[in-house]
């Protein structure tokens, strides 16, 4: 437990330098500029933007009713059905476009809730210290080691075909611990900083110090936590729906994969039906992963890409 924290603390230490510099008026503009200059961030943000558009106005892009079983089953791709039809006579393209909404809702809701919990638990564990820290860290560590997916499967099996809300609750419960641990180590190394000491000697309240002094310096880490929680939620939800533990009548990419697998779409020539929802999950996942990595680079300047010439020069020197 301790060794892990020491290692994490070291890695996070570099974060503080830049975070410290970023505080103040130019902070937001500085971060925006860094994002625009980061190739991974731009690609990730564009992908995410496209999916958001799909989720908001699916009817404009795919006017066919995604659930109506009105077409001939198992049609190959054509102009009328860009990705063919399912074994039940639904339009694959329509389902794909309409399915974006559920995945994004799960990603944002579960990501935000898990991040909120991890901020509260991680930061207060570090700031309160003592017995509080012991208890909160113990809960975090226990949840961290228990393999999450089997746990989700067991809970979902008892709740009998989880609906969207239940799914999000389960993903939040199993998904906050990693971020909480990162935030705790960050807060631990912040605690001894002068600007927090100064606030304390000014006589500020503890809640003020944490919310208005400490938290703003952790913005990039909190965003990274949100992105990794959202990524986890997207993948875990797709996995659960794929094995039939989501609501099979709901419309989402995971559910599409479940029905495709049930009709052995891979072996019966309906390859696109089984592949395309996975492509969408993978692209949404990749967009979160890319943004997450970009925020990691922004928070930790040691990781930023260096120019080749400089790297070579240093290696020789």
């Amino acid at each position: 437990m301790v060794a892990g924290e020491a290692a994490l603390g070291e890695a996070v230490g570099a974060d503080l330098e830049v975070a410290g510099r970023l505080r103040g008026r130019g902070a937001r503009r500085g971060m925006a500029r860094m994002l625009l200059g980061n190739g991974k961030a731009v690609v990730g943000a564009c992908l995410l933007g496209v999916f958001c558009v799909l989720a908001i106005i699916p009817g404009v892009i795919a006017p066919d009713n995604p659930n109506a079983e009105v077409f001939k089953p198992a049609l190959p791709p054509s102009l009328a059905h860009l990705l063919g039809t399912t074994a039940y006579g639904q339009d694959v393209f329509s389902q794909l476009i309409w399915g974006a909404r559920a995945s994004l809702i799960v990603a944002f809701a579960a990501g935000a809730a898990a991040t909120a919990i991890s901020v509260v638990i991680g930061v207060s564990a570090a700031y309160l210290g003592g017995l509080w820290d012991g208890a909160l860290s113990l809960v975090t560590d226990v949840l961290l080691v228990v393999p999450a997916f089997p746990l989700i499967v067991v809970i979902a099996a008892y709740t009998n075909g989880a609906n969207l809300l239940m799914l999000i609750v389960v993903l939040v419960v199993t998904g906050w611990s990693f971020s909480a641990r990162q935030l705790r180590s960050q807060m631990l190394s912040l605690k001894r900083r002068e600007f927090l000491e100064a606030a304390k000697s000014r006589g500020e309240r503890r809640s003020y110090i944490v919310i208005f002094e400490a938290l703003p310096t952790m913005t990039s880490l909190v965003i990274a936590c949100f992105l990794s929680s959202a990524l986890y939620a997207v993948l875990a939800a797709a996995g659960l729906q794929f094995v039939g533990l989501g609501d099979p009548s709901s419309l989402s990419w995971g559910t599409m994969l479940y029905w495709a697998q049930n009709s052995s779409a891979l072996n019966t020539g309906m390859v696109l039906w089984a592949v395309m929802p996975g492509v969408c999950v993978a692209m949404l996942g990749a967009s979160f992963a890319l943004l997450n990595y970009a925020f990691d680079e922004i928070g930790n300047p040691a990781l930023r890409p260096v120019r080749i010439a400089r790297a070579r020069g240093r290696r020789r020197g």
């Binding site: 060794a3 089997p150 997207v234 994969l257 996975g278 996942g285 790297a311």
Partner: protein
């Protein structure tokens, strides 16, 4: 020593938490799980008058004793490996089924984790050492993107490419079922060829995590004074890479092992499911679809225990390799 005691404490507490979760979950659910179970089983065939009582006992739902008494009894049963009777494999006890599935998962997940760890650590070290080079500009971004891919979908793609299209490798099961399980070459060969695609899937999807952590650690370590000092002394570059940078950068990878392993096992459950691989993960999802609750809960425990034991073993190894953990207590 204090470090080991602390890790052992976490091991025991996590185990107890998993056991307690397993005990209370069926009791927290609305309705009576025994009656639910009875109606589900009756749809499959007629049951005797004793059925409800039997199910209540199998689920540990005896109403006539106190909750505390049930809990203690449950812990005792778990300690002796008594997890009740499986519905699916009636009348085989749950523990027998689990013991049959265990070697498959240990072999597959164990081997692939070791391979992915060694290979990923190596690639991470090399790409950080030659930072900005060809390997470093190609692989880490690729692995970042791969980390967003669902494991099971990767498995589906493997089936499509190597199984359906090229027809190179078997895509389902743990061995050729027309063979008798025996220690001869045909059978071992069949087991190996059946494990190639699941193993490939797990290695490819989990290697990125190790690579990225190792790369980022190495980048930090290379800037340390002792690396500069080694350079100043004129120690050969490859020696600095392996003995100075690599060794130190590897330690956080080891302490992060438990977290990573949790992800790998989670993914492996789905990979086994897609390939019908007869391990714990496949059996878990099979038990879920058959509503075989005793088997499902025992499998969850078994998977958790396997992960906990592996994590504890790595903790001991870290204590041997890194004196700082021993001192910091």
């Amino acid at each position: 020593m204090k470090y080991i005691v602390r890790r052992l404490g976490l091991f025991l507490i996590t185990l107890l938490a998993a056991l307690t979760f397993n005990f209370f979950l069926p009791r927290l659910m609305p309705g009576n799980p025994a009656i639910d179970m009875l109606s589900r089983l009756e749809s499959k065939g007629h049951l005797g008058p004793q059925a409800l009582h039997t199910i209540e006992i199998a689920l540990g739902l005896n109403k006539h004793t106190s909750l505390l008494h049930q809990y203690v009894q449950y812990l005792g049963n778990a300690a002796t490996g008594n997890f009740g009777i499986s519905y699916t494999f009636f009348p085989a006890p749950v523990s027998k089924e689990i013991l049959e599935a265990l070697p498959w998962t240990l072999g597959l997940v164990g081997m692939t984790t070791v391979i992915a760890f060694l290979l990923g650590t190596f690639i991470g070290l090399i790409s950080a050492w030659f930072r900005g080079g060809r390997l470093d500009s190609a692989l880490p971004p690729l692995f970042v993107i791969l980390s967003g891919f669902p494991y099971f979908w990767f498995a589906l793609l493997c089936i499509l490419l190597f199984g359906v299209t090229l027809n190179w490798l078997p895509v389902s099961g743990g061995y050729n079922t027309s063979l008798l399980p025996d220690w001869d070459w045909t059978f071992v060969g069949s087991v190996l060829s059946h494990s190639v695609l699941p193993a490939l899937t797990i290695v490819l999807t989990s290697i990125g995590g190790w690579t990225l952590t190792m790369r980022n650690n190495t980048v930090t370590v290379v800037a340390e004074d002792y690396v500069r000092m080694a350079r100043a002394k004129g120690i050969p570059e490859w020696k600095i890479m392996w003995h100075y940078a690599g060794r130190n950068a590897m330690l956080p990878n080891l302490t992060g092992f438990g977290i990573q392993l949790g992800f790998v096992v989670s993914g492996a459950v789905l990979v086994e499911y897609v390939f019908n691989y007869p391990g714990l993960g496949w059996m878990l999802l099979d038990a879920v679809s058959n509503q075989d609750y005793p088997l499902m809960q025992a499998l969850f425990l078994m998977i958790t225990v396997a992960v906990l034991v592996a994590v504890f073993a790595i903790d001991l190894l870290t204590a041997v390799l890194d004196p700082r953990t021993r001192d910091s207590g």
